[in-house]
């Protein structure tokens, strides 16, 4: 994959000075959003909220991909974000179908009550 500067040759010299810290800030925000999402998976009990925390973690990963795409000057990170979007949409569709089935059969959305496989 050629770097983007072979696709476009315009340079943004003065622009870079103000943007030098953006990648690191984006990586820090990404890391903290991932931690927040992981914490939410542990401490929340509603299935839908847990799924939203998973979406939050996927978004944090997307931000890291974009930041690294910016840092390396290639477009591969953005293409991977494209794939993450697709997987997230599929995951949300199947997960919410499972939530609807759970509500129909168990009439409960508390993750602690789904312990049929517990030994």
């Amino acid at each position: 994959m050629p770097p983007i500067d072979t696709l476009y040759t315009s340079t943004l010299g003065a622009f870079e000075a103000a943007h030098a810290g953006f990648v690191q800030v984006a990586l820090a925000v990404s890391a903290f959003l991932f931690v927040i999402g992981a914490l939410g998976v542990f401490i929340r009990r509603n299935v839908i909220t847990v799924m939203m925390c998973i979406e939050l973690m996927l978004n944090a990963v997307n931000l890291a991909f974009i930041a690294f795409s910016r840092a390396h000057g290639t477009i591969d990170g953005q293409i991977l974000v494209f794939f993450v979007f697709t997987v997230a949409a599929a995951e949300a569709a199947v997960g919410l179908a499972i939530v609807i089935a759970l509500q129909r059969h168990r009439e409960d959305l508390d993750v602690d009550s789904f312990n049929l496989l517990k030994g």
């Binding site: 994959m1 103000a18 943007h19 984006a26 914490l39 925390c53 978004n59 477009i75 953005q78 995951e91």
Partner: protein, 168 residues
């Protein structure tokens, strides 16, 4: 120039704050709206980092489609409020795990370098399409994605379908 910095840091702060609200709210609807705010401010950050097309996709696909699906399900099921945080050991273990993960994240970011390529331009949709299709690198992944979507479609219908009576 300074406006860029203010916009980026503001979006970062809003993203973190609304991300915390996502897990701090008891009501799933409030969590969903906080998550929409998080996604929109992340879209601002994407655009500031030079990925305008991905920013548009973030708003359209995530905030527009996936979160509306979540809100549909929350309101369809009339999900009652969370009874409270996870009791006892697992909650404390989650806090400890979160602190460890945060320290690791800060350490990783701290060791990174801040140099950027100077000749970089905001990418448009055509750049993403060219990167996706110009070389066969992502060809099989792209085809696998279509199979994934098809199986997710079938799976969602099968799982959420109302079961027929047994003796039919």
């Amino acid at each position: 120039m300074i406006l860029d910095v203010i916009l980026f840091y503001g979006a970062a702060i809003v993203a973190l704050a609304s991300g915390i609200f996502v897990i701090a709210q008891r009501n799933p609807i409030n969590s969903a709206f906080s998550l929409i705010i998080t996604m929109c401010s992340l879209a601002v950050m994407f655009a500031m980092l030079g990925s305008g097309f991905i920013a548009v996709l973030q708003v359209v696909v995530y905030a527009g489609a996936i979160m509306v699906l979540f809100l549909f399900v929350i309101m369809l099921l009339n999900a009652k409020q969370d009874e409270g945080d996870r009791a006892g050991g697992i909650g404390r273990a989650a806090i400890v795990l979160g602190i460890i993960l945060a320290v690791q994240a800060v350490a990783v970011v701290w060791n990174g370098s801040a140099t950027l390529p100077t000749n970089y331009r905001d990418t448009a949709a055509v750049d993403v399409a060219r990167g996706l299709f110009a070389s066969p690198r992502f060809l099989y992944a792209f085809e696998a994605t279509s199979i994934l979507i098809l199986s997710a479609l079938v799976g969602a219908i099968v799982v959420a379908r109302k079961e027929k009576a047994k003796g039919q």
